[in-house]
């Protein structure tokens, strides 16, 4: 990248592949300050960048004290790293090989349940981690291979449905596995018990051992942060090497054009199985870490919702990019799963959901709208629009604007200056939080969705004009209901939105390479 930019070809030349010839042009990073910074960044060798981020992450626990709040922050970091591990594994199947593996969550669960069964009081087995983890990882990888086998001679989509079903089945078995029997015939077959308890059913398996190696036990929060970090580093490095290897190139060839890859005598079926198997192994590793971290395995940690969370991470970061997978995992798990918590105190901590939400809207507007004049006009429009609506509603109905922020009357005055601004910008109807009074919220939500969909159909100043009421409505639905359910359905709703928007607007995600479709 340090050389002078390649001279641009005048026009189509005979006998030259335009796409290849212009590759330098596409790699061009652009001008301006951002471009120069990126050019500098490109000069730094990749391993150095990698090492920088690893060291930065390793310093995080040292900055935290042993207070309860700091342990909570450390836990957020550890969970983000576990998700990063999961995203890396899913990236092998989805990003490298282009297979839609929807049973991925089951391998995560198998890792957790496998570890929980082999080192807890459940069956009185207390094997050490160095023995259990390789065993579980190997079993899970084998299962991945087995499961992909029936869909091996089929076109892509069947794999999706078989694996999706497999994930569901895993959840059913984990939930129902506390009364396993031979068709209810145990007594007749001479067994002592009428049924066996294998998975603990909906209650899961509790009191799982911490990781232990030769008598040493990892029990502190910091230890788990470092264990997970080491796992992420090893998997990241391993996958980077795998991606550059023969197999990695074959996976990418498979993703680009399966038929052409097969014609080049690549073992297509085996490559597919391998991709699913490697993903399954990484997921199982993450599962064992999660079980030891939570000291338990519970079925609801391994359901379809978690699968969608991991998918959103990989897709947002950019399928096929390992750094993207990690970035997506950290963004989604820190910002969406933790950052969007409602602003009600839990313990000593207050959630920052409201501020994260408005900051995100502002950030998106600033990042996408050019030039500054237009941005200023839109922001001004949003402010004026809100104040106008507030004034009109206040003048017409008594209860129209006496709604509350947060969850109850006692927090009415809270929220600081920004809270005051929001109360005077939005028109929050009174009694919003009473059960059953969802009418205004539902109308606003449907209106918001309709507005956003209309925005995709129009261009120019009409779209700019539509942004104003859309932002106002977004604020309205957020304050009237979404912020309360932010740790539940809201974040899942937003994950669904991420999947759709990324696919429609930027299929390569944040760090991925755009796919070139050759017709």
């Amino acid at each position: 990248m340090s050389e002078t930019p390649p001279t641009q070809p005048e026009g189509p030349r005979i006998g030259a592949d335009e796409w290849v010839a212009r590759s330098g042009e596409r790699a061009e990073v652009g001008g301006g300050l951002v471009g120069r910074l990126r050019a500098l960044y490109e000069l730094v060798p990749k391993p150095a960048v990698f090492a920088f981020f690893v060291v930065a992450a390793a310093l995080v626990p040292l900055l935290t004290a042993q207070t309860e709040n700091d342990i909570y922050f450390l836990r957020v970091g550890t969970v983000a790293l576990v998700f990063a591990l999961l995203a890396l594994g899913l990236n092998v199947a989805v990003g490298f090989a282009g297979l839609l593996d929807l049973g991925y969550i089951a391998y995560y669960g198998i890792g957790a349940y496998g570890y929980a069964m082999l080192s807890s009081d459940k069956f009185g087995i207390h094997w050490e981690a160095w023995l259990v983890i390789p065993l579980i990882v190997a079993i899970s990888a084998l299962l991945g291979l087995l499961l992909a086998l029936p869909s091996r001679r089929l076109v892509g989509d069947y794999l999706a449905i078989v694996t999706l079903f497999f994930g569901q089945i895993f959840y059913v078995i984990a939930n129902q596995g506390y009364r396993v029997s031979f068709l209810g015939l145990n007594k007749d077959l001479g067994f002592h018990r009428a049924n066996w308890d294998l998975t603990g059913g909906p209650n899961g398996i509790a009191n799982v051992d911490r990781f232990g190696v030769f008598g040493l036990t990892a029990s502190s929060e910091r230890a788990y942060f470092y264990i997970t970090l080491v796992a992420v580093v090893i998997v990241f490095a391993g996958l980077t090497l795998a991606n550059r290897s023969r197999t990695g190139r074959a996976w990418r060839a498979l993703n680009d054009d399966t038929l052409a890859a097969q014609a080049m005598s690549m073992p297509v079926h085996w490559l597919k199985l391998l991709a699913v198997g490697v993903g399954a192994a990484v997921a199982a590793l993450a599962g064992t870490i999660n079980a030891a971290l939570l000291q338990g395995a519970f079925p609801d940690d391994y359901n379809t919702q978690v699968l969608i969370i991991i998918y959103a991470m990989v897709i947002l970061g950019g399928a096929g990019s390992l750094a993207g997978a990690v970035l997506g995992a950290i963004l989604v798990s820190v910002l969406m799963l933790e950052g969007l918590r409602p602003q009600t105190p839990i313990g000593d901590l207050t959630g920052n959901g409201r501020w994260v939400f408005y900051a995100a809207i502002l950030l998106v507007l600033v990042a996408t709208i050019r030039p500054w004049r237009r941005l200023g006009a839109i922001l001004g429009g949003i402010a004026v629009f809100g104040v106008l609506v507030h004034a009109i509603v206040a003048a017409t109905t008594a209860r129209g604007t006496d709604g509350l922020l947060n969850t109850g009357p006692e927090t009415f005055e809270e929220g600081g200056p920004l809270g005051w601004l929001i109360r005077n910008w939005l028109a929050l109807p009174g009694g919003t939080y009473e059960v059953g009074s969802r009418t205004w919220f539902n109308i606003a939500l449907v209106g918001l969705i309709a507005l956003v969909l209309c925005m995709t159909l129009v261009r120019g100043w009409v779209r700019d004009a539509l942004i104003v009421p859309a932002v106002w409505l977004a604020g309205f639905v957020w304050e009237t209901r979404l912020v309360i359910e932010a740790s539940g359905p809201t974040r899942l709703l937003l994950l669904g939105v991420i999947l759709i928007v990324v696919m429609v607007a930027r299929p390569q995600g944040l760090l991925g390479r755009p796919r070139v479709e050759i017709v």
Partner: protein
């Protein structure tokens, strides 16, 4: 029968023919429902080669629409109109609403990807996103508690009384579902076989590119496909609510998965295949509930799917498609 009794697993009542026929009728009812949903999957897959994960959610929304119409008309216990009119209105509203929803999903989530030629995995992920979005939207807007259809209160339970036809004992509700499904099927078959649009649909599903070269407005055909498929899913949603008495936000995912299995078993892309696959899965589920265990019915459906994928991947009615390059 003697041998089974020796094992002692089955209860005495499970060994009567009456019980068997009850399971059969229940399976046929369930199967009609799955068949109706499976048709939507099959039609869309036949034309776009897209696994429309959001279809189950369309079914769920249709079921909710039926519920709201019912509530608006006074509820099952005290309807403000004759029962037949109420049910007819529920069906019309749900089919219309679900159909429009399907068209909107196609327009905003799939068409942009098609225009960009985004490959095969991108629409699948988008479909997954739509499915999840609609599901959580229903949780937020309608609450996570199931809504009660309370169809048992229609005319003091008249719809759930049984009549005997030969050896079969069948409830009016089941009869209604089966007959309605047959009517919809006949209408759909005639539409596909006889009308101009139906012919365009067949041509498009045969070869999308060639069809567009022959002057068929492919986008319009796709819109019609989504409209019909989603309307059928909406009808199935109302039926589901009437039979099982309630609807919640998660019903779509589960039923959608089973219906897709039905479409695969019947031969994806084939409409009679989808219906037959639905019946097969419905019967399998019903008998597994009746004779094995209610907890593991999904496992049994999964086994049927795997068996078909191994033994006859093109399904009952499907023809193995030679891959052209």
């Amino acid at each position: 029968m003697k041998a089974l009794q020796l094992v002692g697993y089955f209860q005495d009542f499970q060994l009567t023919w009456g019980y068997f026929f009850d399971q059969l009728v229940a399976g046929l009812t369930l199967g009609s429902l799955y068949g109706l949903i499976a048709i939507g999957y099959s039609m869309v897959y036949g034309i776009l080669k897209l696994l429309n994960f959001a279809h189950g959610e369309v079914f769920m929304i249709g079921s909710y629409i039926g519920f709201f119409v019912l509530t608006w008309l006074g509820g099952a216990a005290d309807p403000s109109l004759p029962i037949a009119v109420v049910i007819a209105l529920m069906f019309v509203a749900a089919m219309l609403g679900a159909g429009l929803l399907g068209v909107a999903i196609e327009r905003f989530a799939y068409r942009p990807l098609r225009e960009k030629r985004a490959g095969r995995i991108a629409p699948l992920i988008s479909a997954l996103g739509v499915s999840f979005f609609l599901q959580q939207l229903a949780v937020i807007c309608f609450g996570s508690a199931p809504k009660q259809y309370d169809s048992f209160s229609f005319d003091a339970g008249a719809l759930f009384t049984s009549v005997s036809i030969g050896p079969f004992r069948i409830q009016y509700m089941q009869l209604f579902v089966i007959v309605t499904t047959i009517c919809l099927m006949v209408a759909l078959t005639i539409f596909i076989a006889r009308t101009q649009v139906g012919r365009a649909m067949r041509a498009t599903s045969f070869d999308l590119e060639a069809a567009s070269m022959m002057g068929i407005d492919v986008d319009r055909v796709i819109v019609v496909t989504f409209l019909i498929g989603s309307a059928l899913a909406g009808a199935a949603g109302v039926m589901n609510g009437l039979i099982f008495q309630n609807v919640d936000a998660y019903v779509g995912f589960q039923v959608g998965l089973i219906a897709f299995t039905a479409a695969v078993v019947g031969g994806i892309g084939s409409i009679p295949g989808a219906m037959l696959g639905g019946l097969a899965i419905g019967l399998g589920r019903s008998f597994s509930i009746g004779y094995v265990s209610s907890s593991y019915q999904d496992v049994i459906v999964f086994c049927i799917l795997i068996a078909f994928l191994l033994l006859r991947p093109s399904g009952i009615f499907g023809t193995p498609a030679p891959q052209k390059v």
